[in-house]
């Protein structure tokens, strides 16, 4: 059913100290699709997401076993440069976190640290990134305004633009709309729909409707285990697992 896998995870185990947060997770995530990760709080879906660009490395005492293959390359291999990996695998956080700099500087940050200094090139990247994140029309006249002065929804789209500016292949989104009002949420969801043409998107969400609306595939996590994974349609209409069904019907979690 799936022809093209962007990420293949094999038997991933993750420990925070002695606590096992991910238990033998195996999953194949397709290219240029939106995959939603759902599950109750503390089920390991955010941990799993952060394992995909090795943000968990920043936490003391994390131990990881198993394989995460990105384009058939194990990202936990010793020879992998974490910095290069994170350029390929962008991340959007739950709380929008623009730098306390101007809008322009926020978007240009990634390209700049990659050594792009040509002003013209930077202008171009900033414009295309903001266009892609559907923020350009709202901010094109005051790119020098502080990024933190934007509204919550705009800030989140600014963060998406900032992630797009380094030209990633995959976007990891950790509840990108959980702190937003319905109108901003719609805008972000529309954006996700737009972005999947060019990017592989993995999104963690607590909002079942959101998962149903934006994703092509859905993975249900529970207690650190991947319970069920399949096309969103199928998961939401006829899940094969009892726990998945209970969760989707709102009986727990």
């Amino acid at each position: 059913m799936i022809e093209n896998h962007k990420i293949v995870v094999e038997n991933l185990n993750l420990y925070y100290g002695k606590k096992k947060a991910l238990n033998n997770v195996s999953i194949e995530i397709p290219s240029n699709k939106v995959t939603a990760l759902i599950g109750p709080s503390g089920c390991g879906k955010s941990t799993f997401l952060r394992a995909l660009n090795r943000m968990n490395d920043l936490i003391d005492g994390v131990k990881i076993e198993g394989k995460v293959l990105l384009d058939e390359l194990d990202i936990y291999n010793k020879n992998i440069d974490v910095v290069e990996l994170r350029k390929k695998v962008g991340m959007i956080f739950q709380k929008s976190n623009p730098f306390p700099k101007s809008i322009y500087e926020n978007v240009a940050f990634g390209p700049k640290i990659n050594g792009i200094t040509d002003k013209k090139k930077l202008d171009e990247i900033v414009e295309t990134s903001l266009l892609r994140s559907a923020l350009w029309d709202e901010v094109k006249d005051d790119l020098n305004k502080n990024g933190l002065s934007l509204s919550g929804g705009q800030q989140q789209r600014l963060c998406i633009a900032r992630a797009l500016a380094v030209d990633p292949e995959i976007l990891l989104m950790d509840e990108p709309a959980s702190a937003l009002d319905p109108i901003s949420t719609t805008k972000v969801e529309d954006l996700i729909f737009e972005l999947k043409k060019n990017y592989t998107i993995i999104i963690v969400t607590h909002n079942m409707q959101q998962a149903a609306r934006v994703s092509d595939y859905t993975a249900f996590f529970y207690m650190g285990k991947l319970i069920e994974f399949g096309e969103t349609n199928k998961i939401f209409t006829s899940p094969s697992n009892k726990q998945t069904e209970d969760y989707i019907r709102g009986r727990f979690g």
Binding site: N53, N97, F99, P100, I113, A163
Partner: protein
């Protein structure tokens, strides 16, 4: 049915002994007022010290109240813009040991280039002392600040949690070093070492004192900088790292700019601490009140002057008053610096995170 039952229960409660009337709680009252008293005591102590220092320094602003002992010098007494005080003679409550020809702390006398408070013709020039303080302080900042800031960056952003738990208290422990011990160390060891390495003409000089005082200000700059760096919300550094920035790029381009006001505050606090520091400088700078900007010559700072001379001065004398005036100046300068660090910088820091 159920509702009426509930209401009746509530009414019963209200009518009974457990009313919601205010109660007087003695322990609560005592605790609150004792704490209040203690905090006001420390506040009052500051005000009193402040008032005392300024009262003792006050005669300087009213030189005409100052009376002289001897008549022979009456003519030459007109120093500067001081009018001759003519006729008033003898028996004063102020016992002046100086047969004060120019023993008057006029503006002109205070701003001259020499400090010779004891002698035929006392000179109360504060300039060399001020230059001395400034030289020693700036040198201390120049040596101490880079070390402290780099150490703070390392322990806040790079060191592992365990290592940080060793480094941070170790550096902060330096703050509890008595300054006389640092001064002694500077006097005996650092001075000799520097002289043998650099071949100084004067063994004790501003350079030596500055290096020694750097030890005193490193902990304060380190601590405040470290706090400023760790106070930068984690999501800033996460965003930067997720964009593929290296740790160092993140520290330099994201965390440092966000923490700049805090680092600036740290420098100001270090400056204030160094400016008021006495013992280290008294011991390690040679204490010659020279008006030069050469950092390899001995200096005498304002604070060291008070420390060295206050014990031997005649009570109520001009010299005494001038020393208190120096004290008041020190107080005002450090007060202003600390106030800037506290209020201005904090406001700026908050603004930055709110994105105004």
């Amino acid at each position: 049915m159920l509702m009426t039952k509930l209401f009746s229960i509530q009414n019963k409660k209200r009518d009974g002994k457990d009313s919601l009337n205010r109660k007087f709680r003695l322990s609560e009252f005592l605790a609150e007022n004792i704490i209040k008293l203690v905090s006001f005591t420390s506040f009052a102590a500051i005000i009193l010290i402040f008032a005392f220092v300024f009262r003792e320094a006050a005669p300087i602003f009213f030189p005409q109240e100052k009376k002289t002992l001897s008549t022979e010098f009456q003519q030459s007494e007109t120093y500067g813009e001081e009018p001759a005080q003519s006729t008033q003679k003898t028996s004063q409550e102020y016992a002046s040991s100086n047969s004060g020809a120019s023993d008057v702390a006029s503006f002109k006398n205070l701003t001259q280039k020499e400090w010779q408070p004891v002698g035929e013709n006392p000179k109360y020039g504060l300039l060399p002392l001020f230059i001395g303080s400034l030289k020693a302080t700036i040198l201390a900042i120049l040596f101490g600040a880079p070390l402290a800031i780099l150490a703070a960056i390392y322990s806040a952003l790079f060191a592992s949690k365990r290592l940080r738990e060793i480094i941070k208290p170790a550096i902060e422990l330096l703050a509890s070093f008595p300054s006389v011990v640092i001064g002694f160390f500077a006097l005996m060891t650092i001075a000799t070492f520097f002289q043998s390495v650099f071949g100084f003409t004067y063994r004790l000089n501003a350079f030596t004192g500055g290096v020694a005082m750097a030890f005193a200000i490193i902990p304060i700059i380190y601590t405040v900088t470290e706090d400023a760096l760790t106070a930068v919300p984690k999501y800033f550094s996460e965003a930067s790292l997720a964009l593929g920035a290296t740790k160092w790029q993140t520290a330099l381009f994201v965390i440092m700019p966000a923490a700049t006001p805090g680092i600036f505050a740290a420098l100001l606090l270090g400056f204030g601490r160094a400016f008021g520091e006495t013992m280290i400088l008294l011991m390690a700078t040679g204490n010659a009140p020279l008006s030069t900007f050469n950092i390899f010559e001995p200096v005498r700072t304002m604070s060291a002057t008070i420390g060295a001379e206050m014990a031997e001065v005649v009570f109520g004398d001009t010299h005494y008053t001038v020393l208190f005036f120096i004290g008041a100046l020190l107080f005002v300068i450090t007060f202003i610096i600390n106030a800037i660090a506290e209020f201005y910088v904090r406001a700026k820091l908050m603004k930055r995170f709110r994105g105004e």
